[in-house]
């Protein structure tokens, strides 16, 4: 398992009727190494899920994609549907979905869905199939006694584990978890993300897309903050959540909105992705904005901590260790 995901200047546009365009993802670049968890955080509607769909080749047909996303040399953006379907999805990239209740087929039991996935991805048949499916359930801490239940008979937490079990069947080196903890209570969030972290420690790369900052803090190695389709800060998780803290004003505001902190929202609302302001998209909400913000700031800095802001909070140099 040596999957290194390398995303370069990825942009996704959706043309609308009337000539407008939704700029869902703009110039996103990052690397994800095996055994590493990168958390992609940001407000709802900032483009996080579109990015995940782009990597999986699951964008709607009207999407226009630029840039590159390579997984061990295979460009995910130009690969044909046949390649994606037979060689990538489930086998090299697995998706832990946002809403397991709607991801699972309502008319079949969890066992039946697991067995189908095991059969498709591993070719197991007969008694071996049953055993493999049960082992897959166990890996995601899904209780064997519930395998013959239908999705609607499961609590949110168990449905999430069923979906995670399905994602892990193919042994894909890269996992993309799109809001895997939405709607779960704190104990279940912790158990779900700890399970994902175990997969990371076993060598998987994990792109954790979430708005749950506590979940990100718990398991991420690095954090990418997305705002209006761009990555505005990409840095180590320990420094981001602890000291010295985020450098981008938006990232600071996002952390300060937590009820554990000052519980104050970032003023205003995110811009519409079909009507982005020129220059820095955060400037209208930013208390540090000046004339310089009329130009889009580039994401600059070392891999240990890059920020896209003309007026980023500075860190004392001695505090910026890894």
């Amino acid at each position: 398992m040596t999957a290194r995901l390398s995303v370069r200047e990825l942009s996704v546009r959706f043309p609308l009727r009337g000539g407008r365009t939704v700029a869902a993802v703009t110039d996103v670049s990052f690397d994800l190494a095996p055994g590493e968890c990168l958390a992609l955080v940001g407000e709802s509607g900032c483009g996080k899920s579109v990015l995940a769909s782009a990597l999986l080749g699951l964008l709607p047909g009207n999407a226009r994609v630029r840039g590159a996303a390579r997984l061990d040399g295979l460009d995910l953006l130009t690969a044909g549907e046949a390649v994606l379907a037979r060689r990538v999805r489930g086998r090299r990239i697995a998706l832990v979905p946002q809403s397991p209740a709607s991801h699972l087929t309502p008319v079949r039991t969890v066992r039946s869905q697991l067995e189908e996935t095991v059969r498709e991805l591993t070719g197991a048949r007969g008694p071996k199939l049953r055993g493999e499916a049960e082992r897959a359930a166990e890996r995601a801490a899904f209780p064997a006694g519930h395998l013959d239940r239908y999705p609607h008979q499961l609590s949110g937490g168990l449905a999430q584990r069923a979906a995670t079990a399905l994602a892990l069947v193919g042994g894909a080196p890269l996992l993309i978890a799109d809001e895997p903890t939405t709607g779960l209570d704190r104990d279940l969030v912790d158990r779900t993300v700890d399970e994902l972290r175990r997969q990371v420690d076993a060598g998987h790369g994990l792109l954790l897309i979430t708005h749950d900052l506590a979940a990100a803090e718990r398991i991420a190695d690095r954090v990418a903050v997305m705002y209006a389709g761009r990555v505005v800060e990409l840095t180590g998780a320990a420094g981001f959540f602890g000291t010295p803290g985020p450098r981008h004003p938006y990232a600071r505001g996002l952390l300060e909105a937590l009820p554990e902190r000052s519980f104050t929202p970032v003023p205003g609302m995110p811009p519409e992705l079909d009507a982005l302001p020129g220059g820095c998209a955060f400037a209208p909400r930013c208390d540090r904005a000046t004339g310089a913000c009329a130009a889009v700031p580039a994401l600059t800095g070392a891999r240990a901590g890059a920020v896209a802001c003309h007026h980023a909070h500075s860190h004392a140099p001695e505090a910026a260790d890894a």
Binding site: V41, E43, D185, A257
Partner: protein, 239 residues
Amino acid sequence: MPEPAPEPTCETAPETTPEPALELRGITAGYDRREPVLREVSLTVGDGEAVGLLGPSGCGKSTLARVAALLHRPQAGTVRLAGRPAHGFHHRAPRELRTTVGVVFQQPRLAADPRLTLADLIAEPLRATGRRAEVRVRLPALAASVGLGGDLLARRPHEVSDGQLQRACLARALVLRPRLLVCDEMTAMLDASTTAALVAAVEEYRREHGTALLAVGHDRVLLERWCDRTVEFKTLLPR
């Protein structure tokens, strides 16, 4: 504990003493008669009070919220809203009682009719209760108080984010000026900033109108920060 002697009725007392916004007494409810989710649960939310109800997934807290909002008929027990007993539930709930409680659900995508614009979504309760004339007066201010600007109101649910749609659902729950607002995991789908903004909007409205709040959720830090007091769901169940 020595009880203070009850005050003699004061001549300048307001016309009505404030009844609790919500009184649940001995509620048994669920989806299977043999295995009720709630057994003899009692809970009171005082007039203007904010109560946070905490519990893990699947414990029955949403069922309790639905009973409080007259959306689920209990097998036993009484529900009183602002002192008035509830005799019908769901579509059988009498209008004058149903309008005393507003509800915001966890998933705005499931709660909001995808065919309506946000403006119509918010105004629908007014139209449904024959108060069409108030729409033009109340809608802009209410929408602004939940942070929805003019252009957004003309859009339909698929054209807005989860956070924006939940803001509209909150405005819809408040448009009839309920005595009690029930928020069932209102912010579970939302990011930290949108959560803080929605809670601030609820609190701003409550300060102005004295609305009581029953906030159901699993985020202890959030509910403790938000509410006057929090109640553990499991303490409501018989030992």
